[in-house]
Amino acid sequence: MVRAGVALIGISYDSQEVLRDFAAAKAIDFPLLSDVGSRVITELGLLDRELEAHHAAFGIKTSAHQQGVAYPAVFVLDESGTVSQKRIQENYRAREGARQLLEAVTHGATLARSGNQQELGAAHVKVRAYTDSDYYVRWEKTRLHVEVEIEPGWHVYGRPIPNGYTSLAVEINAEEGLVAGEPEYPPVRPFRVEGLDEEFNVYEGRLHLLIPFAVNVAAETGARTLRVSISWQACSDSECLMPAMHLIEIVLEEAAPG
């Protein structure tokens, strides 16, 4: 962590090999400690016994690789090594994935994209979509990221929008066992068109949209495909293109055996 004076360290039950691959893939520049066998995790009282109990309540068998994991938790230590703050996920259902937790403490600085990224190049607009992880864990909230890059001199409409115009919209297509939350859109900029009474709101430049989702199914179902609809209407100062509508597919594997 580049921040002056604060040291950052990550701990999980992963093997050194898994950590080496992860650190290389995500360009992580702080130590990742390997607690194979979960000895320290257990000694500190951070062994997640709830995963098994939670699954059992739903008639789900916990996979072998899901045993021995730690509760996602962050401890802030002061200069003397005393715990000054502590953050542990309260609601099991809303439990953060590894990536979200690391993001919270590194402010996204060291995280690169996961492998299932999809890119789309359209007229004056580029879209990049990916998820927090290539894997999903049943019943766990994770996120779809949609990055939109709009060519300088062009903008796309945002909401609220007058009738007849198409605003930027991203939606995960509904499917059984797939639960999606409301997308988080960035703030729009008001925009006045010469000679028109209506008020428009637009986006320009680079945008980053987030859509939370979870795969809520009782049994192991293997790989899932997220079908994401994205639409917009791009305009410059002098012209508007027809509304664009695209479908992006992103494949997620079910969390792999350790």
Binding site: V6, V18, L44, P72
Partner: protein, 53 residues
């Protein structure tokens, strides 16, 4: 705050307590002792489920 009967505030080292000095290998196999490595700096110790899933 209880989740399924577990009081989450009781999990792990408590606020106000000294964080235990733990020693574990890093990804390259080098043993790291937390407090020695920290060398008097403030620190964030992040436990996360897995780097793989």
């Amino acid at each position: 705050m209880k989740v399924n009967g577990t009081d989450m505030t009781q999990i792990g080292p408590a606020v106000g307590a000294a964080f235990p000095d733990i020693e574990l290998p890093d990804a390259g196999g080098q043993p790291i002792s937390l407090h020695a490595w920290r060398a008097g700096r403030r620190a964030l110790v992040v436990f996360y489920r897995s780097a793989k899933w």
